[in-house]
Symmetry: D3
Subunit: 122 residues, 6 copies
C-alpha cells in the first residue's frame, strides 16, 4: 500500500500531519487484518507508535503491514512507513506502529478467527 503525500494532508509547517499518518497506518492495518481473518475487523487500539522522521510534500509514503500475532479473535499488526523522494529514490524510515485488531460478527461482538493449523504457529 503506497500513498502519495499531497498538500491537503500537510500541516502548517509543511510536513505530513501526524493525524493523516495515523489514519493511513490504520487503513493498512485494517486491510491486512481483514485479509488474514476474512471477517469484519475493527481496531481495538494501538500500542507504541513512533514518528521517526517527517514526510515531505512530493514524497511517496509506502506502508507495509504484517500480522505478527493471532489470538482467538484478535490480531496484532505491525505497520512500517517508508518515505521515498520520487525524483531521487532516496528513502527514510518515517513511522512505525503496532495495532490491535479484533474480528467481529454482525452484532459487533468478538468472533473466533478460523485459522489453518499450520499458520497458528506463526
Amino acid at each position: 500500500m503506497t500513498a502519495l503525500i499531497f498538500p491537503e494532508t500537510v500541516n502548517p509547517h509543511g510536513t505530513l500531519f501526524a493525524g493523516a499518518g495515523l489514519a493511513m497506518m490504520s487503513k493498512a492495518a485494517f486491510l491486512v487484518a481483514s485479509r488474514r481473518a476474512r471477517r469484519t475487523v475493527v481496531m481495538a487500539g494501538s500500542e507504541k507508535i513512533d514518528f521517526r522522521t517527517p514526510v515531505l510534500p512530493g514524497e511517496a509514503l509506502e506502508l507495509t503491514a504484517v500480522v505478527t500475532r493471532i489470538g482467538r479473535s484478535s490480531m496484532s499488526v505491525e505497520v512500517t512507513g517508508e518515505a521515498e523522494t520520487l525524483t531521487t529514490g532516496a528513502r527514510h524510515l518515517a513511522m512505525t506502529g503496532r495495532f490491535e485488531m479484533v474480528a467481529v460478527d454482525e452484532n459487533g461482538r468478538p468472533t473466533p478467527i478460523a485459522i489453518p493449523k499450520e499458520e497458528k504457529t506463526q
Copy 2:
C-alpha cells in the same frame, strides 16, 4: 474540542473509522501542546490508544486533552473522547490515548519549553 461525526468519516460498517478517531485525537493533542509550549510542536509518537466503544453517526465526539508531563522539550498529552447521542444526551467513553509531543525550532530540532517554575511540579 467537540466534533460531530458526519457520514464522511464512517467506515463500511457504519461506525466512526478508527483512523478518523486517531486524526481527531491528534489535533486535540497538537492544540493543547501548542498552547502550553507556545512553540511549534510536532508529534513524536503515541503510547497506548484504546477504542472502547464505537462512535455512531449523529453522535457528537467531545475530546478533552490534558498535558500530563512536561520535560525539557517534550510533553505527554492524554486525550479522552466521549461520544454523546445528541437527541438524548446519553454519553459513553469512546476512546483514550496518550501522545508524545515535542517543541521544535524553525529547523525542526527539539527546543526547550520555557515553563514558569510553579508549573514544572505538575
Copy 3:
C-alpha cells in the same frame, strides 16, 4: 468547539476560505441547538454573518455558540469565532453570525421543543 486551520481549507490568498468558516459556524450552531432541544434540528437560515478579520494558517479557530432565543419549535443561535496564534496566544475576533435552527420530527416537520419552564424566560 475549537478547530485548527489546516492548509486544506485555505483559499488562494492564503487565508481561511469563507465557505469553510461558514461550515464550521454551522456545525457549532447545529451542536448547541441539538443539545438544547434534544431533537433532530435543521438549519432554517442565517441572519447577518460578519467576517471581521482573516484567519491565517497555523491559527486555531475557537467557536462559541449560544442559544439566544427559544420559540415553539425554533431557536436562534449566536456563534462567535476567535482566532488564536498558537505560538503567542494572541487572539482576534474573526467572525460572528446568527443562525435559525428548527427542531423537526422524523418526517422533517417542525416539532415543539420541550423546555423546562425556568428556561423559557431566558
Copy 4:
C-alpha cells in the same frame, strides 16, 4: 455553477448538510464577484440566508449568482440554489442568500473597483 450532491456532504439525517450548502453558495458568490471586479475579492459577510427545502442525495444543486449592487470597493451578490431530481427533471427552490464581497489589494486592504460607466447604473 452546478454541483452534484454526493453522500460525503450529507448530514446524519440524509439531507445536504447546511454548512456544505453555505460553502457552495460562497464559492458561487466569490466567482461572480471576482469576474465583475477583476480583482482579488474576499467575503465581508452575508445577509439573510434561507434554506427553503432540503436537498437530497442524487439531486443536482444549480447555483445562480448575480451581482446586485456595486459600491466603491464592495459588491452585493445574490445567490439562488435550485435542486433538480436528475431522473425526472423536477426542480425546487432550495436556498437563497445575499453575500457582501470586497475587492482587496495585495495587502488585503479594500481597493476601488474599476467599473465602466454604463455598468454603474445597473
Copy 5:
C-alpha cells in the same frame, strides 16, 4: 458547471492534480447524461482525454459537457475545460475528454433511453 481550484486539489508542483481534473470532468459528464436520459447513469469508460495546459491556483475551471451520441442505452459525452484567471479574464483551454455513459435500471443493467424522435437524429 464552473469550479474554483482551491489548494486542496493542487499537486506538489502547484498545479491542479490531474486526478482532480478527471473527477471534475466525470461529474460534468454524469450530470449532462443524467439530464438527457432522465435515468440513473453510470460511466462505462472514457476515450482520449487530453490535458493541454496546467490549471493554476486562483483560476476558475469552467466545464462544458455536451451529449454527442445517443445509442440504445449508451451516450457519448464530450467535456471541455477552460481555465480563467479571475483577476484578468484571460482564458486557456485546459482539458478535453470523451466519456461513455450508460443508462441503467435499479439492478444496474443497461436500460433503453427514451428519446423523442426529433432528437435521435442529432
Copy 6:
C-alpha cells in the same frame, strides 16, 4: 498500491464514484512514472479507460501500474484495478486504463528521461 473504498467516495447509487476511480488510477500512474523517470512527471492525458464492474463499499481496490512504453520524455502507463471482497477474498477486474505521462523540468517543459540502455528495449 491498494485502496479501501470508504463511503465518502461512493455515488448516490452505492458504488464507487467513477471520478474517484479515475483519481486513484491517476495517482498510481503518477507514482510508477515518477519512479521510472526519477523526474517530476505530469499527466498529458489518457487513452481508453474501461470501468468493467462496479466497486462496492467494503471492497479493497488494488491498483497495479506498469510502464509499457518509454519515449524521449514521455511514458505510457497501464493501470489495472482489481476489487476484492475483504471478507471472502473474491476478486473481480474493476477497471483498466492507459495514461500518458511526461517528464518535465522546473519550468514545466518536457525533459529527456535518462534510461539505462538495457531498459530501453523493454
